[in-house]
Symmetry: C2
Subunit: 132 residues, 2 copies
């Protein structure tokens, strides 16, 4: 709403997310930023994260009841490994997904959120043996 002005806190929040590849939660980011700005408050982290998502500088994913953040803002979807818990990005074309939908007439699609759950390559060997 109001015109945005500079703040060291927002800069650090953004830089921190950009330096992490693990889809950090607000709390993860808070603890990381505190190394540089020990007096920052959790509310400030949340306010800035929300703002950065609103302006498209960051993206986010719902993960259970917590939200995780991602510097990758292009079209992508997520894979969650149920063995190691990691959330990783996967590329899937939204157009191709749209083609699979039997759309009602007039339906407008704005966003596609896909989460695939399974076991990633690194952790699947045991699983595969058990199933064999």
């Amino acid at each position: 709403m109001a015109l945005r002005i500079y703040s060291r806190q927002r800069e650090q929040v953004l830089e921190t997310v950009k330096s992490m590849d693990v889809h950090p939660s607000a709390d993860d980011i808070y603890h990381r930023v505190r190394r540089r700005l020990p007096q920052i408050s959790l509310g400030t982290v949340y306010r800035n994260l929300n703002q950065l998502v609103d302006t498209g500088e960051l993206s986010c994913v719902q993960d259970g009841k917590t939200v995780r953040y991602d510097w990758e803002t292009g079209q992508h979807q997520h894979f969650r490994c149920e063995a190691c818990g990691a959330l990783q990005n996967v590329e899937v074309s939204n157009k191709e997904i749209m083609n699979l939908l039997s759309k009602e007439s007039g339906m407008i699609i704005n966003q596609i959120d896909l989460e695939i759950k399974g076991i990633c390559g690194k952790h699947s060997e045991k699983e595969l043996k058990e199933r064999a």
Copy 2:
């Protein structure tokens, strides 16, 4: 874990969800069940919902920070209308979605959660005019 025994509360929770087509939240279900069992507690509703999902008698979807329940347990995905807020089921074949993925070797896919956001047919006329 423990062997499950009958309870009127669980029966009503299940019946209530089966009678609703709106993907109710635990709280929605609680208020509805209270008409029949005025003394039921919210904790009981949650405990039974979790149990019914575990045994596959119900399914559930994360909707923002709340969980919504669904008597439809077969393979389906969700469409959320951003105009009316309704969450509706859509059929998409998991196999076809899997085919779109560029899988790493050894990756095992157990579950596919797809949420499409947009405007449903009933509410899209205004939108379409605005875009024209």
